[in-house]
Every structure is written in C-alpha cells, then in structure tokens.
C-alpha cells in the first residue's frame, strides 16, 4: 500500500488501537494534522500548551497502563514538550511522542523553527528517532510503541521532517517485531529466585520495599498474595501507592523523606529487604551509609542497570516483577512460615502506635490533611487521585486511602509542578466514569492553568482542589526549618481570584473556608459535570511531617517541628 508519511502515522496509530491523541499543531506537523482531520479512528484533543499534551498522554498512560500518544510541532512546540518527556522518563511511563521537524534539506541550516529535537530529547527518553525516509516509518513506529511499552517502559520520541510526512512510500505495518539488539528479560533466573526464597526463609525481620515497578508490571495482585502468604510487612514508595491497598494489615505505609515512622523504622531494623521494583531514590534512602544497614537485599527489577546502581545487592533478580513474584509464590508456600515473623510484625505495629501519621486538626481553619482525609472518606475508591508537586502532594500520598494500583498519579522522579491538571484530564478521558480529583497547590495550578480551556471545550470534568496556603509551601517549609524563616520568593499572597478565573474559562469555582463549605463544594462539583476548581483556604504554616531532612537517616526522623 502506497501512503504518505502522514497517512502512515494515522494508520500506525490505528493498528496500535490508539483511541486518543493529545497535541498542538504547527507548521512542521501540518501534514499530519491534515490527516487527523480526515480520520475518525481516534479522537484528537487540542491542549493549550505542548507540555500539557505530554502530561495528558502521561496521565492517560498511568491510569490505563497503555501507551499515551501526543503530537507536537517543531522548534518551540517540541521544546515545550521536553518537561513532559522528562517527567514520563523519570517515572518510566510509556509514551510515543511525535514531533514535526523542518524538511530534511533544511536540517542544519538554522531554519525557521528548527531545533535539534533528538539531540535535546536523547537524555530524557527511552529512545528516539529522526525519520529520514518514509519507507522506514512503519518499522520505526512499530518499534516506538514496542519500546515504549516493553521492558522498563518509557517515552519514545519520533521526530519526522515535514517532507517525510508528505513523501509517498510503501506501507506495511509489521505484525511482529524483531529487534536485533533490544531484548528485555522477563523471566527471573530460577536459581536466583530459589536463593531469594531461602534468604527469606532464613530471615527474622524481612520487609517488602515496593516501588513503581509493581504498578508498571501490573503485579499488585501477585505482590499482595506473596505478602499474605509470607506474612511480611510492606512499605510503599510514593510511586507505589495503591499496590498493597491501605486496608491491608501488612501495609505499614509510605517510606522515605515524608514516610511514616514505622515504615522507615522497618527499613532501618530489617535483616532482609525484598525490593520489588523500586529504584532506591535519594528521597527514599536518606543517608546511604545508614540506609537499611542491617539488611541483606533482594532486588527484583526489569532494568539490570537499576540493580546495584545505588546500593550493592545480595540477591539480584532481573525480570518482570509479575513473572518473578508468580514464580516465587509456590516456593514461598512450601518454605515460608508466616507465623515466624509475628514478633517482628508486632514490633512494627507498636512503632506505629507510638508515632502514627498524625496532624492537629482545628476548628478555626481547614487543615490541608483534613481536606484530603475528607475526600478519602467521601470518595474513597471511587476517585482517581492526581496531584501537583509540593506539600499537598505529600499530604495526599500520606492521607488518602488508596485501595488499588493506578488510583494515584503523581510526578515522583522529576517532581513537575504543573503536572496535575493535564494528567488528571488524561486520566478522566481514559476513565470517564471515574471521579478524577487533582489535589493541587496555589503555586502549581498556575503552571498549566490554560488547560482549563481544554477541559471546558472537551467536557473533561476533573475536580481541582487547591490546598491554598498562599505559599510555595514546600519551599517555605524548608525555609522555616533550614533557612531561619527567610521566606525568599515563596509568598504567594498576591493571587488571582481562582473562582472567577475558572468561571472565565467556563468551569465552576468554589471558595471554601469551613468544613461544611468543603463538603458542599465537593458535592456541587461532583454534580456539575464540568471542570471545577475548589479553592480551599488552608492553614498557611502547616508543615509536612514527619520528615527526614535531606541526607539524614531514616531512623532519625523529625517527628514534630518546635519553634
């Protein structure tokens, strides 16, 4: 079949069962947009900024596990997309992002809207392509989708010069893929698995350290089953919230900088750590020389370079987590006595009783933690929760009762303010029957505020809850703790009227100062069927606690802040 490069893009997306593309047009990608206009296989959603297109595709991917797709034009369209690519890359999210490029003959001439896009994206994507001939396009697009979703997932960037989008060539979309060089390992080595099980059987104080890999691998059921059979307590990273389910008695909570006391103590006192797809981020480990220093470590990861990158590993297992845990379960049933760890579980339970996750509620002002707990009580598993970045993000991770994987979408690795609203849109487009909440801050929400227009136009009814502390709160907190309260450039008391702002776009706004108003606003927002913004005036100086100061040790958390 002879097709133009642009038609090939459409055909490839059809073959990949893509149902929605987020994007923003411009000169270099107009040929593709012309074909978008003529087709009805997928819906194209025009965001109002390229960064948001990538985040929306990312939110779609996180909510579903499928590859998110976005289109952007060359030059500034592409550079605007870079933060989105980096965000997805850091959190291993599968995307295919297609950018226009100036015609091949003009590459290298500093042409209008020319930028070395593959040069820029190289360090923040799993792989990228500059397409030089339309006859390569079907293979490249097939590979792009395959690379994005296989192995350790990640974004793939395909840069297509304008003349290639017009070029006619033979198109036949490969039904199978065979790459000479790229072959991810899915099955764990049985000998390593056997050794790991023996190590667990020999341990007295094992702990499961669960990371985002458990979500990417869709391994939550297996991980829960494994934990149950073994009776091993578990901690989750920020990326893994929802894997165990908060009602699970074996879940201690989130660990790390703002993790709970018992989770961090479990890591510090464990004699064996069973790491299921985490990456030992510095926000999790604190000071490395003190991190889990009594523990032998089993690390299961599909990315060999992740194993041993930060800490030496005693039992490395390269493979897909779901596969590996499936293989571990029958061995665990034979060899591991859940009773054996009872004293250890009791000890950790006591730790949790001594220093539970807590906050001081108030009758005068809404505490941000209360707002999150309240949404949890009212919506629980009915809502998918997105966040921006800052204090509100940490409180959401701490206080929302997550019960299943992919219920929690947050930028962990890059910590991208402005992620929340577009990602929530992507999730809502993917799951129209779910309530999608974006917990955001008065700082973050302004970083992609233009997306209210996209949400209104496309009737994407996400509910933004601004925990408005009139501060870049997380930075303000560090200034309070570590910079003698010199609040350099963090005071946001000059703000827009958020209610009028959202209403000017055609959404609904609510200003909330009391608990009663909060419930009412949430209820009205749920009924409204359109994009909403609930501006919740919260205690300005609330701090996220407990806290492991950067470079501190997990067992030495700051439990409260005293002036």
């Amino acid at each position: 079949m002879e097709l133009s490069g642009s038609q090939m893009v459409i055909e490839a997306l059809r073959k990949e069962n893509v149902s929605v593309v987020f994007g923003y047009p411009g000169g270099a990608i107009m040929n593709v947009y012309d074909e978008v206009y003529k087709q009805n296989h997928f819906k194209h959603i025009l965001t109002r900024h390229e960064q948001a297109a990538i985040h929306a595709a990312d939110g779609y991917a996180r909510a579903t596990g499928e590859v998110g797709v976005a289109f952007v034009t060359s030059g500034p369209g592409f550079t605007n997309a870079v933060t989105g690519l980096a965000t997805a890359y850091m959190d291993s999210i599968p995307l295919v992002v297609i950018s226009g490029q100036v015609p091949i003959s003009m590459i290298g001439t500093d042409a209008f809207q020319e930028i070395d896009a593959v040069g820029i994206s190289r360090p923040c994507v799993k792989h990228n392509y500059l397409v030089k001939d339309a006859k390569d396009l079907s293979r490249i697009l097939k590979e792009a989708f395959y690379i994005a979703r296989s192995g350790r997932p990640g974004p793939v960037h395909v840069d297509i010069p304008k003349d290639v989008t017009a070029q006619m060539a033979h198109f036949s979309y490969p039904s199978e893929i065979k790459m000479q060089t790229y072959k991810p390992t899915y099955k764990g080595n049985p000998r390593q698995i056997k050794k790991a099980i023996e190590a667990i059987a020999a341990a007295k104080r094992p702990v499961l350290y669960i990371g985002g890999g458990a979500i990417n691998s869709n391994a939550a059921n297996e991980v829960r089953e494994f934990a149950r059979i073994c009776g091993i307590p578990a901690v989750e990273t920020l990326m893994a919230r929802g894997v165990m389910g908060d009602e699970n008695p074996l879940l201690l909570g989130m660990l790390g900088m703002h993790g709970c006391y018992c989770a961090n103590m479990a890591m510090s006192e464990a004699d064996l750590m069973i790491a299921f797809g985490p990456r030992f981020d510095d926000r999790v480990t604190g000071k490395l020389s003190e991190f889990a220093k009594h523990a032998k470590i089993i690390h299961v990861d599909i990315d060999p370079s992740s194993i041993g990158k930060i800490v030496p590993i005693d039992y490395p297992i390269v493979g897909d987590l779901k596969n590996v845990v499936e293989a571990m379960i029958p061995l665990a049933k034979e060899q591991i006595q859940a009773d054996k760890y009872k004293p250890w579980r009791e000890l950790l339970k006591r730790y949790n009783e001594i220093h539970p996750l807590r906050y001081e509620d108030s009758n005068d002002v809404i505490k941000p933690q209360w707002a999150i707990e309240r949404v949890g009580e009212l919506l629980g598993d009915k809502a998918v929760i997105c966040t921006d970045v800052g204090q509100h993000q940490m409180w959401a991770a701490q206080f929302y009762p997550f019960s299943y994987p992919r219920q929690w979408l947050s930028s962990g690795g890059l910590g991208t303010m402005g992620y929340g609203l577009p990602a929530a849109m992507g999730a809502k487009v993917a799951l129209p029957n779910k309530t999608v909440i974006n917990f955001t801050g008065d700082g973050s929400i302004l970083m992609n505020i233009q997306e209210l227009m996209t949400a209104v136009e496309n009737k994407i009814a996400v509910i933004n809850i601004i925990l408005n502390n009139q501060f870049l709160g997380m930075v303000r907190q560090w200034q309070t703790f570590f910079y003698n309260k010199r609040y350099s450039s963090t005071d946001l008391s000059v703000q827009p009227d958020f209610v009028k702002l959202v209403e000017s776009f055609g959404g609904r706004g609510f200003r909330v100062k009391t608990k009663a108003e909060f419930d009412q606003a949430l209820n009205d927002a749920m009924q409204s069927g359109c994009v909403c913004m609930i501006d919740v005036q919260v205690d300005r100086f609330e701090n996220v606690l407990p806290m492991v100061p950067a470079g501190g040790t997990l067992y030495n958390m700051m439990l409260e802040y005293k002036e």
């Binding site: 500059l130 030089k132 790459m179 000479q180 060089t181 060999p304 370079s305 041993g308 990158k309």
Partner: protein
C-alpha cells in the same frame, strides 16, 4: 576508591546518532572517556567502538549496564583478554639533530611515515603504555606535533 582503567569493546547498530547516544551517556552521567575509536564492522550493519574508560568497580559496572541499556547496543565486551594497540604520529623538524633516532625507532618498531622539506613524521603502533614511553623518549627531538589514535582492541 582508586580508578581502574578498563577497555570496553562495544558493538552497536551502525545507525545515525549512535555515537551521540554513547558520548552523551558518558557526559551526562559523569563517566570518563580516556579514548574512543569507532569504525564499521565489515559486511555487517554493526560498528565497533573501543572505549577506554576508568572508574571505581561500581562505576565500571554501571557503565557496562548503561551501555547495554541503549537500544542500539548489540554487545558489550568488557572482560577477558584483549589485544590492545594504539597508533601515534610524531612530527619532528628536520633542523633537529637525529642522533639516536634510528635506534629508538627500532626499539619501538616505529617507521618514518612521511617526510617533507621541513619535517619528518614518525609512526609507532604499540601498547598504550609503550606509546607513553615512546612519546617521553622522543621529546628530546622537540616534536612540533603529536597525534594519538586512541586504543583499538580485539578480544581473544
């Protein structure tokens, strides 16, 4: 921790941009490149890079894993025995006193690769540390230019 010198032979798909992926990986992650040579492998779609790098054991392990992780990487040969050779060209003005040069060239299996009205160019191919000592010895002839190729290696 002391930096260990390591020779890596990396086989990659011979496609656009592959060298920038590799050099970008080293630059971006702060790894050393002491030398790097590339050439296509005859009758294949592959190229071979010989990279001489250095770092702690942990860093070297990461370098190998990160190289493997690049999509176009076919193989990373890191251990075992290598024949490793490097080539050096040295330009010496004709005005110099060449006393003893012949003997030195002989000792290093060197040749005179070219000569002009002003200078001669010496060529030596040998182990990198022998090249080092040759370049030290040749200093007394006041070379005006020195070019080293970087190591090429073949696993045995």
């Amino acid at each position: 921790m002391d930096a260990i010198r390591r020779v890596l032979s990396v086989i990659v798909l011979n496609e656009d941009g592959v060298l920038s992926r590799i050099s970008g990986l080293f630059a971006g992650r702060g790894y050393n490149i002491d030398s790097l040579t590339v050439a296509p492998i005859p009758k294949t779609n592959l190229s071979r890079l010989t990279i001489v790098t250095s770092g702690s054991t942990a860093v070297l392990e990461q370098i190998v894993k990160q190289l493997h992780k690049l999509i176009p990487t076919y193989k990373v040969i890191e251990s075992g025995e290598f024949v490793e050779k490097e080539l050096a060209l040295v330009k010496i003005p004709l005005s110099e006193d060449f006393n003893g040069l012949d003997a030195m060239l002989k000792a290093y299996n060197g040749t005179i690769a070219s000569s002009s009205e002003e200078s001669i160019v010496l060529m030596v191919a040998d182990d990198y540390n022998r090249i080092d000592s040759f370049l030290k010895a040749v200093k007394k002839y006041n070379p005006t230019d020195i070019v080293r190729s970087g190591s090429v290696a073949m696993d045995l």
